[in-house]
Amino acid sequence: MNDLLKIADREFTSRLLVGTGKFGSHEVMREALAASGSEIVTVALRRVDLDATGGADILEFIDAGRYLLLPNTSGAANANEAVRIARLARSAGMPAWVKLEVTPEPRFLLPDPVETLRAAEMLVDEGFTVLPYINADPVLAKRLEEVGCATVMPLGSWIGSNKGLRTRDAIRIIIDQAMVPVIVDAGLGAPSHAAEAMEMGADAVLVNTAVAVAGDPVEMASAFRLGVEAGRRAFLAKLGPERDEADASSPLTGFLDA
């Protein structure tokens, strides 16, 4: 089936993006990435030893030939810091793609909409392909689309919470209005959550914590791959409408049409 995810000028078969934080070892992370079937892997630049003289840096465990390395700006508290991190990533030889995260508070790591929009404008101007992490705010999603972002990435619930699609209704509006791919990011705790997002018409999902802290991260990565695939196929197959009342297959008023 020719069902490709197109972001900016690139096409991907997999609709599952995976993050690289919180894993118990780089080796487990590498295996989980492989099992996920993902083609886009995001890494926090602040966790990368940019002036490393050797050693087991995280990038050595991510095959740049196999995955699109998507640096993220996690740790940035405002637009200027995010822009700086994105530039650093590019000058360190990473792709000019950036997962834009501007999170001024460290507890829930919720995104700052004002600074995110500001940073997105600057980064798009500088030629970056920008994938912004946002709250599930339909108006903000349109604003980011208008300034030239390649996707929007609304949260299902806050990062690491594993609570699933708590923002379901707002995400439905975002998907309905979007002219760019919608990637549900953050809070998906189980393959069923990922499947639900895909059934709703999300173009892709991003998962990290749920895989990294699972009892068996490699098996969980594989389960998420299946969840995403199942959800996508269900979406393409067009789900029957949900109804509150029974839809009788032998209507009682059929005789009137006879």
Binding site: S25, H26, R46, I85, R90, R107
Partner: protein
């Protein structure tokens, strides 16, 4: 508006932690902490993470909770892994000076003690930092005694500036400063401040801090708020358990302080250190030492009350206990530490602040963490170093 404990709904928000501390019903909470029934413990344990109150925290310090320690530890472990992942942040203490004008009865640096005093010159600090860098550390905690002139703001600025190009993450555990002074230190390149209140009990505080600027209880109490307002991104608090005869008092106050800072200093990440009194040159011995089981209960209770607060364990504690606590709820730790100025390059020449109990090397601790299923995290910068900045400039 959030209230962290029962019985205070409807009160106006506390402006500083001093206000809030004054509102804690210690008498009632201390009764919970020593006599809570197993039914109360049950209630506290069955609540969802994030729903527990300071009162629940006090209940979880009780002997009745101690009988459920394994259950608490399992819950604490799960919360920690969910929030922080299977990772451990690594840092190293770097003592700049043991000069001190304060006389604190418990401290190896106290003015009255006949120890070898040493204050590092900027070049010596850089050598120590490079030594730590070669061991893998990218996060360094600078420490001094309390000496206004020898280790004042200018001194700290000079040392921070010389380290900033090479050390991505610099925190301070030094004297307490004004907001304007913290701004200067932040501008120089420091991004974290740790302040132990030592004890939150005002009378005990006055008794153990016999002389010197450190006698100013309130100035110290509000230090973390000032540091956060000045833009410090990491704020650490802690009490030295065992100073005040009832450790539970300080446990409750510390938890309340961290909870207050999470709301008040919302842009900063808040961590709690769990130091216990250890032997030092001062030969202070705590009246009522905190046992290993009590310390573990404290760690669990902190995690269950504050699911996303950082918990810090230093090398004051012996290896076996540390290894156990890593899995229970610790998120940040030091390893291979020296507590005497210049101690990495020239060990044992100057007086140390306290004795190290976990004497394993950095590599040993890191490899043990991996065997427990944790990835040691060295690199977690907020600010790119100069070498990285140069790369950026050259690339443009």
């Amino acid at each position: 508006m959030n209230n962290n404990w029962n019985g205070f709904l409807g009160r106006p928000p506390a402006v500083t932690f001093a206000n809030e501390l004054g509102m804690i019903p210690f008498e009632r909470f201390l009764i919970h902490a020593s006599e809570a029934s197993s039914a109360l413990v049950d209630r506290a344990l069955t609540k969802e993470a994030g729903q527990r109150t300071l009162e629940d925290f006090a209940v979880l310090l009780s002997p009745a909770a101690g009988e459920r320690l394994e259950q608490m530890a399992q819950a604490s472990h799960e919360l920690t892994v969910a929030r922080f992942g299977r990772t451990m942040q690594m840092y190293a203490p770097l003592y700049l000076s043991n000069e001190c004008l304060s006389s604190c009865t418990y401290c190896g640096f106290a003015r009255t003690l006949p120890i070898v005093r040493r204050t590092l010159a900027v070049g010596e600090t850089l050598r120590e930092a490079r030594h730590l860098g070669a061991l893998g550390f990218r996060s360094v905690l600078l420490l001094t005694g309390e000496h206004e002139k020898e280790t004042g703001v200018e001194f700290l600025e000079r040392h921070i500036r010389v380290l900033a190009p090479e050390v991505p993450q610099i925190s301070l555990e030094v004297q307490v400063w004004s907001e304007a002074e913290y701004q200067r230190l932040a501008a120089a390149g420091a991004e974290g401040v740790t302040i132990y209140q030592e004890t939150y009990h005002p009378d005990t505080y006055g008794r153990v801090h016999e002389a010197g600027r450190k006698r100013r209880y309130l100035w110290r109490l509000l230090g973390p708020e000032r540091a956060a307002r000045a833009g410090m991104r990491r704020i650490g608090v802690g009490a030295l358990l065992g100073l005040h005869p009832d450790w539970r008092y300080d446990a409750i106050a510390t938890a309340a302080h961290a909870a207050f800072l999470q709301r008040h200093a919302w842009r900063s990440s808040v961590s709690v250190s769990i130091p216990r009194m250890r032997p030092s040159e001062s030969h202070f011995s705590p009246e009522c030492p905190v046992t290993d089981r009590e310390l573990t209960r404290y760690v669990c209770a902190l995690r269950l009350f504050l699911p996303d607060v950082g918990l810090v364990a230093s090398t004051r504690e012996p290896a076996a206990l540390r290894d156990g606590l890593f899995r229970v709820g610790i998120t940040r730790t030091s390893a291979g530490s020296h507590t005497e100025p210049g101690g990495y390059e020239e060990p044992d020449e100057a007086g140390e602040q306290f004795q190290i109990a976990d004497e394993r090397s950095v590599a040993e601790v890191a490899s043990h963490l991996r065997s427990l299923g944790y990835e040691p995290v060295w690199e977690d910068w907020a600010r790119p170093t100069e070498a990285v900045e140069r790369m950026l400039v050259e690339a443009r």
